[in-house]
């Protein structure tokens, strides 16, 4: 086998390499074009808009105006940005731990051999198929201030910023629980039967068994979920727009997408870079904190 391979490699090597490069260009071209135009070019533009105020007046010829690095610092330190960051942070803290815990409970409950268990598994995973928009509309039946069923529950009122974040969190917890359920259930089912068995024979109780055997085995899945759910929460938008009649709670994405036209392009560009930075920072932090506790096995 080796000799065939070597001969083939030496004889046709350079011609083949040349041909393959052309083919690779053809195969990768579409992907790279899309990423260049809609992932990297916008990153460049965000930096540019942060430093220059674009001249949008088509009647007056003129270059974009340099506004300098102070535009970045001023906007990141502004009340608008810090308030939005605070809303997103609270939303993240309310939705991720609760959603994770709820989803893990669902998975543990549904990870057993019972007649009809498939039906329960389908019900628990159903929130994965509902879009954020549908989930938000669904929860207006409960949360709407005038005629939702929970209209008198003061701490879930959509009319005040603090309670509005809690109310919107309910929707996200519901959805996060479904995604967590799907992934944790798959992870639980991948734990080898022998390991569960051995732990049981060692006389571990159910609870201790779960924390000292099962959790380490599914830790890669939990790590993945922690990162994905945090990033999703930091970038939430639809729930805030659809559920709130008056937008009292405005997360980062609300300031970036800016449906009310409240900020300039240069301000929103800085906010976008802020979100970019926060997302990277939080993900790195999670990797560092959690990586040591993750058991990847071999």
């Amino acid at each position: 086998m080796t000799t065939t391979k070597n001969r083939r490699d030496t004889v046709a090597s350079s011609r083949k390499r040349w041909n393959e490069s052309g083919l690779a260009l053809l195969f990768l071209g579409p992907t790279m074009a899309v990423f260049a135009l809609f992932s990297y070019y916008p990153l460049y533009r965000l930096v540019y808009f942060s430093l220059y105020r674009p001249n949008r007046n088509s009647f007056i010829e003129g270059a974009d105006e340099w506004i300098g690095f102070s535009n970045i610092w001023d906007n990141l330190a502004s009340e608008t940005f810090t308030a939005a960051l605070w809303v997103s942070a609270k939303f993240t803290l309310m939705t991720v731990p609760l959603g994770l815990t709820a989803g893990i409970c669902l998975a543990v409950a549904a990870d057993r051999h019972l007649r009809g268990i498939k039906i329960f598994q389908t019900i628990f995973s159903s929130t994965v198929a509902t879009s954020v928009a549908v989930a938000s509309v669904v929860f207006t039946t409960l949360l709407q201030p005038e005629n939702g069923l929970w209209r008198d529950v003061d701490w879930l009122s959509l009319n005040k910023s603090a309670s509005a974040i809690r109310a919107i969190s309910v929707v996200a917890v519901w959805q996060n629980a479904g995604l967590t359920f799907v992934i944790v259930l798959a992870a639980l089912q991948a734990v080898p039967q022998e390991i569960k068995e051995a732990a049981r024979l060692d006389g571990y109780g159910t609870v201790r068994n779960f924390f000292s055997v099962t959790v380490p085995m599914i830790s890669p899945a939990l790590m993945f979920l922690a990162v994905v759910l945090v990033v999703n929460a930091l970038q939430a938008y639809a729930q805030f727009e659809i559920l709130q009649p008056v937008k009292t709670a405005q997360p980062l994405l609300y300031k970036i997408a800016d449906p009310d036209g409240a900020s300039t392009i240069s301000t929103r560009a800085v906010f976008s870079l802020g979100l970019f930075g926060v997302t990277i920072l939080v993900s790195l932090l999670q990797f560092n904190l959690l990586e040591k506790r993750v058991h990847y096995g071999n």
């Binding site: 992907t31 809609f38 916008p42 509902t130 549908v134 669904v138 993945f224």
Partner: protein, 284 residues
Amino acid sequence: MGTDRHSEQPRGIKAVGWYSVLITLSAIILFPIYTTIVRSISSAIPYINSLKDGSGLVPVAVDYGVFGRVLQNDRFVNAMLLSAAISLIIVTGQVLTSTLAAYAFVFLEFPFKKLAFAVLVGTLLLPIEVTIMANIETIRDIAWLNSIQGLTVPFLASAFGIFLIRQAFLGIPSELRDAADLEGYSHLRFLFRVAVPISKPIIGSFVLISFLGAWNQYLWPRFAADKESLQTIQVALRNLGKSEITDLNFGYAAALLSAVPLLIILIAFQRQLVRGLTAGAVKG
């Protein structure tokens, strides 16, 4: 619990206990769906009036006709068709570009391969939420606001899809590649006759995930189009049935009906969907 490893199926009192736990949890998960069904089949004004002295948990002045009215509503039908068309374009595009790119990374030798891969990984840090503001400016510049291109082209490549399909291609035994070489297969022939058919299950999972993402997305279509005729169903849901108070149940019925295609997919392709969702999260 028995010591025999096959006696895991709980029996008697234990089974009853687990069933009550599972039924309670199902009731909690389904509760908001139930209230949405109640709201959609209850006529709007009688329902709101009933809230004063009722629980709101039972349908009032039941009117199943609402579903028919939703299905005959131009705006709903148009939005559903638009979502279907956009999802179809995005899924087809992503599967094509991802398959070709994955093939290049696995089976082709070319300069700057590592760099190209790094470019790919980098896009994971640049989701549409981060880039939306600049991307909206870009499509405004090229007059793609309110257009099918504007709604689809930014999503015609997927790093996730490339990673997933690349993983499948890496699993193809090298003997197969060598055999194909000896047979004189060209790359294109190997791709479509061997690599793609072998990877069908993974590609199938990716089709589902890709469709789920395309159908459910909200942020981009919300801002890339403001014309009513170019609103996807997710965006249209926000305003459907908001114009008339007597139509309040209309919006709920529309939300439920818009989720039906996904529910069917979830039930029909549960295994494949789970495989796609868990890719990367669960080893093995």
